[in-house]
């Protein structure tokens, strides 16, 4: 057991998989010799050499297209898109090519690849380098979508993603890179499609993802201490496949549900989950499901403004408290 940062967990995860399987290659912009703009891939170039760890030009379409071509012919590429906002310039691969090739070819083509990307706000980068775009990927049939919140999950879910036979979009949160967590020694492999109860509770279920998980946990601690409200916090971890069983099971116990979403309001992942709960667990509920999201606006750059719009522990505490006392 060792304490590791989320950033170093990314490096360890990729190294673990590259050591295991010589068909795993890794490329992206500034990822090899420079070690990544977020220093998430430092040392991989030195460890695995220039054939397996490569710097690309600033060509997001070429990066994702090449990953797909390599994947469909037998390699297991990990491709980095530096900021998830840049998905917009290579969205053809994410929306049209990776997820549809197997279906359109009636199962002839395969696409086992991982696209990893830095997602989310908190760095004061403004509206084009801070977005949470996991819902862009979630809406497309044929993709798998994960977003770890801890160093241990970074390694376990990355290993699961690399070993998965489908295209996986792997959202790292840039505001979590410096956070630390306990990580067991040896190989770590998780499974895609499993949520995790990170704090058991009986009065309400709080569903969170990535950076919103530590905020939800912080809020749950305060809700218990200050208001005697005992919240269960679930780290959703995987949007596709979605662990609806864990979510519905929790709602059946607590009878109240809150989502904490960093994405802008419309069509956020919580909307889909709330609709599933409404369809399948309506009579388990003692009150309306509540979504706590970033408002439907582009993100501002200024720290004081950005802090006002992302869901915070304060806002979660206040929303849960008010809803449960209504």
């Amino acid at each position: 057991m060792a304490e590791l940062t989320y950033r170093d967990a990314v490096t360890r995860a990729i190294a673990q998989e590259m050591s295991r399987d010589p068909d795993v290659i890794f490329f992206g912009e500034d990822v090899a010799k420079p070690g990544g703009v977020f220093k998430t891939t430092v040392g991989l170039y030195e460890q695995f050499g220039p054939r397996r760890v490569r710097d690309t030009p600033i060509s997001e379409q070429a990066i994702l297209g090449a990953a797909m071509g390599a994947a469909m012919t037998g390699l297991k590429p990990i491709a980095e898109i530096m900021f998830s906002d840049f998905f917009a310039v290579c969205f053809d691969y994410i929306a049209n090519e990776f997820p549809k090739s197997r279906y359109m070819s009636n199962g002839q083509l395969k696409c086992p690849l991982v696209v990893r990307t830095a997602n989310g706000a908190g760095s004061r980068f403004g509206a084009q380098h801070s977005q949470s775009v996991e819902n862009w990927a979630m809406m497309i049939p044929g993709l798998k979508v994960v977003a770890p919140s801890t160093p241990r999950d970074v390694i376990g879910l990355m290993a699961a993603a690399v070993r998965d036979p489908d295209p996986v979009i792997f959202f790292e949160h840039k505001s979590l890179y410096a956070t630390k967590g306990e990580v067991p020694d040896g190989e770590i492999v998780d499974t895609l499609g499993s949520a995790k109860i990170v704090r058991p509770g009986k009065d309400a279920t709080i569903l969170a993802l990535a950076l919103m998980v530590p905020r939800a946990l912080d809020a749950a601690t305060r809700l218990k201490r200050e208001h005697d409200i005992d919240c269960e916090v679930i780290d959703v971890r995987s949007l596709v496949p979605l662990d609806t069983r864990a979510i519905l099971g929790s709602v059946a116990r607590t009878h109240r549900v809150f989502t904490v979403e960093e994405n802008p309001r419309l069509c956020g992942w919580g909307a889909e989950i709330v609709s599933i709960i409404a369809d399948e667990a309506f009579y388990d509920l003692d009150g309306p499901p509540v979504r706590i999201t970033t408002p439907h606006i582009p993100l501002p750059a200024a720290d004081t403004l950005e802090d006002l719009v992302l869901p915070t522990p304060d806002r979660i505490v206040e929303t849960v408290r008010r809803s449960l006392s209504a």
């Binding site: 290659i25 054939r51 490569r54 690309t56 030009p57 060509s59 379409q61 070429a62 990066i63 994702l64 297209g65 090449a66 990953a67 797909m68 071509g69 390599a70 994947a71 469909m72 012919t73 037998g74 390699l75 590429p77 053809d92 691969y93 049209n96 090519e97 090739s101 197997r102 279906y103 359109m104 070819s105 009636n106 199962g107 002839q108 083509l109 395969k110 086992p112 049939p141 044929g142 798998k144 998965d164 036979p165 489908d166 499609g193 596709v240 496949p241 979605l242 662990d243 609806t244 069983r245 599933i276």
Partner: protein, 346 residues
């Protein structure tokens, strides 16, 4: 600055003689493949008029020499990446006509059992790694397949076919740079049929030769060939493939040709200047190649036998497809994910 107009090139019938580099059997095959494409595409058009080909279709009538020349020069392990105008390249790799027509007719016997349609023909067992309907998308994908070959030390070449219109989209430029920087064994083949969909390519492109005039930007040789002469195509393919297999990197080849039909089935091609089609039909690749065979001593009866055999194959394929059932409903939810199903939740 006045731009040079693309004109039908005139190629003298050189190299005729006993020391020919192509040889009798290859020539026979080059002709046969062109005739297969011509007859199958013509049949696809006829079936469309009978409302038996549904959806859209983009025919390669008039462009057969390019598909034939490259495919005949390929090894079985080489990979083809096509556009939505991909029937020709699929047939050229040896995919049975009934599989292609079946997919166009959206029957259960089609290449992808009706799940892909005319624009996405794929036959991995024949090296046809997909037909891509988003302009430019497959150039980077071909780079990735070539990257795998380079990484694994395999000697296969990825061959990527696209139209003149593709040269103005970003993925074209990203892929060429990427392939050149990494010296990937990929051959980019631009089929310049003078029209990007409905608009003349010259009206929307800064240079006269949309592919070849961009080659120097990526350190590549400027190559323009007569795309209606299967021998010229075959020769340039051999050179490019040898270069790729030797680790010398990508090639970009612009093949001048002409589309006899409209862009898609919805397009009657009224935008063409009067007489243009007729002038190009004088340079019909199949007409050229038939004369070539005679010149090289093929008997008229041998040529007629090739043609009759292909026509019979097309008739048989048509009958098979007409009798085939529509796709089985149970495939609707199959192969979304690698486990064979479509489940996104538990």
């Amino acid at each position: 600055m006045a731009k040079k107009k693309n004109r039908a090139p005139t190629t003298a019938l050189a190299n005729a003689g006993p020391n020919d580099d192509i040889g009798e059997e290859t020539r026979r095959r080059l002709y046969e493949v062109q005739v297969i494409i011509r007859e199958a595409e013509q049949r696809a058009f006829d079936l469309f008029l009978q409302n038996l080909v549904k959806g859209t279709s983009h025919l390669s009538l008039g462009q057969e020499a390019i598909a034939a020349g490259f495919a005949v020069a390929m090894r079985p392990s080489d990979l083809s990446f096509c556009t939505y105008r991909g029937h020709a390249h699929t047939l050229a790799r040896g995919v049975p006509i009934e599989k292609v027509l079946g997919e166009l007719m959206q029957r259960d016997n089609g290449l992808m059992r009706g799940k892909g349609g005319s624009m996405h023909l794929t036959s991995v067992e024949h090296g046809v790694m997909g037909s891509y309907a988003i302009i430019g998308a497959h150039l980077p994908i071909a780079c990735g397949a070539a990257l795998r070959a380079q990484y694994k030390g395999a000697d296969d070449v990825s061959v990527c076919f696209f139209g003149d219109g593709t040269t103005n989209i970003g993925a074209f430029h990203e892929a060429l740079n990427f392939a050149a920087v990494w010296k990937l064994p990929v051959v980019f083949v631009c089929e310049n049929n003078l029209y990007m969909e409905y608009t003349p390519i010259g009206e929307v492109t800064a240079v006269a030769h949309p592919a070849a005039d961009r080659a120097s930007a990526y350190g590549l040789e400027r190559i323009v060939i007569d795309g209606n002469d299967a021998d010229a195509v075959y020769r340039v393919a051999q050179t490019a493939f040898a270069r790729a297999r030797a680790g010398e990197g990508p090639s970009l080849i612009e093949c001048l040709t002409y589309r006899h039909s409209g862009h898609s089935r919805a397009d009657p091609a009224k935008y063409r200047p009067e007489g243009e089609l007729e002038r190009w039909k004088e340079r019909d690749p199949i007409k050229i190649y038939r004369e070539r065979l005679i010149q090289f001593g093929f008997e008229e009866t041998a040529i007629a036998a090739i043609e009759a055999n292909v026509r019979r194959m097309v008739e048989d394929a048509t009958a098979t497809c007409k009798a085939a059932a529509p796709p089985a409903v149970e495939i609707l939810f199959s192969d979304v994910y690698a486990d064979g199903g479509w489940a996104w939740r538990n």
